[in-house]
Amino acid sequence: MLRILTMGVCLAMLAAAPAHAKTFRIRPGPDAQTQLQTALIEARPGDTVSLAEGRFELTSGLSLDVDRVTVRGEGQDESILSFTNQTSGAEGLLVTSDDVTLRDFAVENSKGDGIKSRGADRIRYLNLQVSWAGPPKSTNGAYGVYPVSSQDVLIDRVTVRGASDAGIYVGQSRNIIVRRSVAEFNVAGIEIENSFNADVHDNAVTRNTGGILVFDLPGLPQQGGHSIRVFKNLVERNDTPNFAPPGNIVASVPTGTGVLIMANRNVHVFDNAIGENGTANVIVSAYRNDIGDAGYNALPRDIMIRNNVFGRTGFAPAGDLAALKSAGVPLPDVLWDGVTTYVAGGAPRNEPVRISLKDNRTNRNTPVSFLSLGLPVATSPVTDAAPDASMPGVLLIAEPPPVRLPQD
């Protein structure tokens, strides 16, 4: 009787416990490509694919399409997936399933993007490194880490160097945290594009062309980016000459930009240290290309810039803005194109653009500066500028609530 009872209890426990999670242990070596890809296919939800210490020489992009799998290495400098000899696949690692954790490894020299996740909800990118060797080159992959079309994205302690577009790029997603990460020597350090509700904080963003970009572009399935908070970041010395291939939106980012907000609604930039950016510490701009998409709003609206410490800026303006300096107009901490009118789908539209600066200070002996270019419409050339340096009035702009993620 007792035995039967015990058996019954055991059976009940078996039924209640999830199937035993398995760990696939992969080591570098000539069969690593097949072994690693096979593990990524055969893993069941709950399993771990563990990467030993060492350099994995891979020739094809890897992919993961199983929910709840963890891919875990021995550390950013210990387990290295090298794609130097890649002959196929548009990225190093592609994730298309939910609840995936990627942690403690590096991806280097992928031919396209480093790590891309598409439609991968509740993903965690933890303690990773993605880089391209050598000086920044336009032939490097576009994005270091690239979550897109996803809900609940966590990027924590990720280092990206050398991306020819954005180091950390989150596109067409909602509920996003990018924190405690390092982006350097990319064209854009961190870019949040066509996304809703993002917190970008405690990152070190240096030596890029532009530091932190908050963009909204027309003609995409998700647009109308809003509710973005950029805070407690170090955004310093972004001075790498723009090496993006022309044609890409980031190719228009002037070298020496700290934070760039283009289109979007309700963006708050606060408690950051932003300095040594040769063009401007913060640029607020409309989308400046022609727009066929009648559903798109090209203006940045409800922008709050407060409690930041600004360092030196405007000493080496690039692109169109260099002409301003030559004409004797000094470049400021915060530069706004002054646009309140844009044309979408053939119809001109006008909207109030609320920009507020509050409680910012500098570590220089000059006060915080602001400049509106007073451009008549979004597509006006900088030569049409009617510069106005008067500080905008302080407005109340409600801040979005902090982003909370279920996997955090």
Partner: protein, 354 residues
């Protein structure tokens, strides 16, 4: 004691059943519908010969009007429908296949493309099986002697040599896709789905054992399809041919539910808004793959169109499609180049353009 007896009886039963099955000359549906794929292709009994050239009864060859380019590989396609359960017409989309339907595609190279029936070496055979839980994709890679193909979930790289249409020797590292890469093309809303068997792709003639006739009429007559769709005229104008080419080669990803939906580029032939099929559309996340050009299609200017630039490339970080080729498709590139060159600023191409 009783257990042993039972096991013995079972063994007898299995032993007795096996020869009967081998004598039956239809596909092995139990193996096809099993959750775990068979390690060898022959276990499915789709073919009469070891080389998978001669189909068993119930396995019907078919062909597409405009096939997807795959490094000049020859493709032999077959369809299996369970008896009495035809696929159902589904508007212009891929037919609705019943559980038990199977699509088979063998990729093979002749020694010389100018003699496509001589010394043909099969490389891989892909199956799409409509199981109860949805479509399952499997890939079998052929042994060097061409007598058996074995399951390969992680993909493979196979060195292949052939002479091209001009007689030049080509050597490629043929890439057999892994299971996830299958889904890279065969996915809609993140579920595996076939691409080819839609009315517009099948509306052509086909040579059967007993003569040549309309492929769709044959499907209806033999119970593969429940009703004939309205006939679609084959694309004849340059514009229609170019759009059909993009539809087959690109739209499996570039559609609003496909893996490339986030690009905003919709290359389905049915898309009527030129801005959505690429005319003066700016790149979003193309990175260096944009090649320094401003628009997916720059009307009248093929050489500054990103779409053509990516078709011409063989760099994995640039080329499109991302998978399934290591060579550029010269004929496809020529077609799209002529099409963009003839295009006016609104994306229109005159019907009389050669």
């Amino acid at each position: 004691m009783r257990g042993i007896f039972l096991a013995g009886a079972l063994a007898l039963l299995v032993g007795a059943a096996a020869p009967v099955r081998a004598a039956a000359d239809g596909p092995n549906m139990a193996a096809l519908l099993a959750e775990r794929p068979s390690p060898t292709l022959s276990a499915y009994r789709l073919f009469r010969d070891a080389g998978a050239r001669i189909p068993n009864p119930g396995v019907t060859p078919y062909d597409l009007v405009t096939p997807l380019f795959s490094d000049y590989a020859l493709k032999q396609r077959f369809v299996v429908a369970p008896p009495g359960a035809p696929a159902r017409l589904n508007g212009d989309d891929v037919f609705a296949f019943p559980v038990g339907a199977v699509l088979v595609k063998t990729f093979a190279y002749p020694a010389d493309l100018r003699a496509p029936d001589v010394e043909v070496r099969p490389i891989e055979t892909r199956l799409l099986v409509r199981q109860r839980a949805g479509w399952a994709a499997m890939t079998y890679v052929w042994d060097a002697d061409g007598r058996e193909a074995r399951l390969q979930v992680a993909g493979a790289t196979v060195p292949v040599q052939f002479r091209d249409a001009e007689g030049a020797l080509r050597e490629i590292a043929y890439a057999v896709p892994n299971k996830n890469q299958c889904k890279g093309c065969h996915a809609s809303d993140n579920a595996v789905t076939p691409i080819g068997p839609a009315p517009r792709h099948l509306d052509r003639e086909m040579v059967y054992a007993d003569g040549r006739r309309s492929q769709l009429a044959h499907w209806v007559a033999t119970g593969l399809l429940d009703a004939a769709p309205p006939s679609v005229s084959a694309p004849s104008t340059l514009d229609a041919r170019a759009r059909a080419y993009l539809d087959v080669n690109c739209a499996h990803c570039h559609n609003p539910q496909g893996p490339a939906a986030n690009s905003g580029l919709d290359l389905r032939a049915a898309q009527t808004d030129p801005a959505l099929w690429g005319v003066r559309k700016r790149p979003v996340a193309a990175g260096r793959a944009a090649g320094g050009f401003l628009f997916a299609i720059d009307p009248g200017r093929p050489d500054s169109s990103i779409l053509l630039h990516r078709m011409r490339s063989t760099d994995p970080g640039v080329m499109m499609p991302e998978l399934g080729r290591t060579l550029a498709h010269r004929e496809g590139v020529d077609l799209i180049a002529r099409w963009i060159a003839a295009m006016d600023a609104d994306g229109a191409v005159p019907d009389n353009t050669p």
